[in-house]
């Protein structure tokens, strides 16, 4: 009886034993010389089960939104599980420092399921994986314009705590991030003059600022605010009669944001006094508001 991701999510009592049987069978295949070690077998199978629980695939019902794994075909889902087991098995074999050739030899050469040979991709090219290290992810965030805009937004949000803002600007200056610094100074200079006196307790202010930045950068509504702000600058239409810029909600969704997400972003922008919006279907910006958004969010 095959099972699907749907079965695991909604009918765990029926599907768990079948899942276990499948994972165990795959682990036995990939663990090679370790396949008689009950501890290693359990470790590999448990790893995948734990992962499925964490992902909300196993036994979560409707409490976790469906994700890309739920939308895989049954065959693709089996392949996913198969590779998860294989990866963990390889990891365990490496931990035991078993030579690769040892378990290669144990695989039957004429095995009908030759795709199961872990040698096929035992040395998986890590350079084929985007953001293979946290450093690469950091570099992406620092260099991609839209992601930098989110960073700018979060730094600018520190203006409510001028000492913390000053501490961060000082850090940017020290590390030579002159482009970013110039952008931020340009915007901030419009709203509040920047402190120029030396900062006391700089380290403390810096720590507080970092904490706020971490929170802001990982917050979904902040990101939606930035995305919607970018779109407001791109798609707003000038009304010559009232000198206003108008854009309707549907335009802002652009087929990749839901209306709910757009509203969350608009709400956040309104909360930050960047525009006046109270749930209307059409967003209206004054010329000054649009200029302010453009200064900060325009995709150059």
């Amino acid at each position: 009886m095959p099972f699907t991701a749907h079965d695991l999510r909604y009918h765990i009592e029926q599907s768990f034993p079948v899942l276990y049987a499948y994972l165990q069978q795959r682990a036995r295949r990939y663990l090679g010389p370790l396949k008689f070690d009950a501890f290693e077998m359990d470790l590999v199978v448990e790893h995948v089960i734990e992962q499925l629980v964490r992902l909300g695939i196993l036994g979560s019902g409707d409490h976790v939104p469906e994700n890309a794994l739920d939308r895989l075909s049954p065959a693709q889902f089996y392949a996913f599980l198969n590779h998860s087991i294989r990866n963990k098995s390889i990891d365990r074999l490496r931990k035991h420092r078993l030579p690769v050739s040892t378990f290669a030899e144990l695989e039957a050469p004429a095995d009908a399921e030759s795709e199961d040979d872990p040698l096929n991709d035992v040395i998986e090219p890590i350079w084929g994986v985007p953001f293979a290290t946290p450093e690469e992810a950091a570099l992406e965030a620092a260099s991609r314009e839209e992601l930098r805009t989110l960073l700018k937004h979060c730094i600018e949000a520190l203006r409510a705590a001028p000492h913390q803002l000053q501490a961060v600007l000082q850090e940017l200056e020290d590390l030579g991030a002159s482009e970013l610094l110039a952008d931020i100074r340009k915007v901030l200079a419009q709203s509040n003059p920047l402190e120029s006196d030396p900062l006391e307790h700089a380290s403390q202010h810096k720590d507080h600022a970092h904490k706020k930045l971490r929170y802001c950068l990982q917050k979904g509504s902040t990101n939606l605010a930035v995305m919607v702000a970018l779109r407001l600058t791109q798609y707003g239409e000038h009304l010559t009669s009232s000198k206003e810029v108008v854009v309707d909600l549907h335009t802002l969704t652009q087929n990749d944001l839901s209306e709910r997400e757009v509203k969350t972003g608009l709400k956040q922008l309104a909360a930050e006094d960047l525009l006046d919006w109270h749930g209307e279907e059409v967003v209206r910006l004054t010329d000054a508001q649009k200029k302010r958004l453009e200064r900060f969010y325009m995709d150059e």
């Binding site: 009886m1 946290p134 992406e140």
Partner: protein, 344 residues
């Protein structure tokens, strides 16, 4: 760290790259990236919580990875908070690598030829230790949700409650009560973290805290312990009661029709003549018990402790039967902790 940064092959705007495809360190993006990593790394868990992961971000990983695999142009923009999170969280980043590899393989056409037709499995053939681990996974997930709710000021109690119920239900399948105890290790502690599970009152310390005595095992110490409390005068069979123990004190829960009754004995003299409040912290986790007074945290005894130190009071009504092994296990799990207090 410099070397790791230099391995990057990013070609986005703002980068200048040398002939070997390395990032030009003179570019401001490089120090900025290092600084970002310093800022975000502070969110890494302390060493004693090195297994901590973040459900909110973890559960976005499959969609993010799919967007990357499909080369959706706005993938990083859409998942920017997740990307920033991955900079600082090694547990989630490690899961990202793991999942990316497996999902990439799953989408390759030649990978879908696995025989998926003949899969069999049964609970009888599934090792108990694996079921224990499954229950523990649910409980750990509930704990991770608690941490998330504290950090993000969100309310995750409905989902956590569901996970703990799953652990309870699955554990009820195990016949060995010592394994059930292992499966539900930490359940009471985690359930207590979520305040709204049991509407906790401002209660003083418990006078006695009872836990079930293992009775369902067929081997070893657990069964021997259970046998020692079977008193000849009471003469109940092991399946008709849940035996409780609090240090040297003993008690039991028995069933009369639909009613669950608590019997405590040898209570000390200071309690004689006093009414007691009984608290069952896991009582609100499963629905099928209608508790006396409506709140399993504050069940008032209908009579005081008598002059022999005995108390007999109803706890609630249920359709579950102690005579049915699986239902009995569920009831036993509900009484993993039973606290007794004097009424102020």
């Amino acid at each position: 760290m410099v070397a790791q940064f230099e391995r990057g092959t990013h070609t986005g705007k703002g980068h200048s790259m040398n002939e070997r495809g390395q990032i030009d360190p003179r570019n401001e993006n490089l120090p900025l990236a290092r600084w970002l990593q310093e800022v975000m790394a502070a969110s890494a868990p302390p060493e004693n919580e090195n297994n901590e992961f973040h459900p909110y971000f973890y559960q976005q990983l499959p969609d993010f990875i799919m967007a990357l695999l499909e080369q959706q142009p706005r993938a990083t923009l859409h998942f920017a908070p997740l990307l920033y999170h991955l900079i600082g969280c090694t547990a989630c980043h490690s899961a990202y690598l793991d999942l990316y590899s497996a999902m990439r393989a799953a989408l390759q056409p030649d990978e879908v030829q696995l025989n998926i037709g003949q899969r069999t499995g049964s609970w009888e053939a599934t090792p108990v230790r694996m079921v224990v681990q499954l229950c523990q996974s649910f409980i750990r997930q509930a704990e991770a949700l608690y941490r998330q709710s504290r950090r993000d000021h969100t309310n995750e109690s409905i989902q956590a409650r569901f996970l703990l119920q799953q652990a309870l239900r699955i554990s009820a399948r195990m016949t060995q009560s010592n394994m059930r105890t292992r499966a539900l290790h930490d359940l009471v502690r985690i359930a207590s973290l979520f305040d709204d599970f049991g509407e906790p009152m401002q209660q003083g310390p418990a006078v006695h805290s009872y836990s079930p005595v293992l009775a369902g095992g067929s081997h070893g110490r657990a069964m021997r312990r259970a046998e020692t409390i079977m008193r000849p005068t009471a003469n109940p069979s092991a399946q008709d009661a849940i035996y409780l123990q609090s240090n040297l004190l003993e008690g039991r829960i028995m069933q009369q029709g639909d009613t669950l009754e608590l019997f405590l004995q040898d209570l000390d003299k200071t309690l004689h003549g006093h009414y007691l409040t009984i608290s069952v912290p896991l009582g609100s986790l499963i629905e099928p018990i209608r508790w006396v007074g409506g709140n399993p945290r504050t069940i008032h005894s209908i009579a005081p402790v008598d002059e022999h130190g005995m108390l007999n009071t109803p706890l609630g009504r249920t359709e579950l039967r102690l005579g049915n092994p699986e239902e009995r296990n569920l009831l036993e799990a509900t009484f993993l902790l039973l606290e007794v207090r004097t009424i102020a």
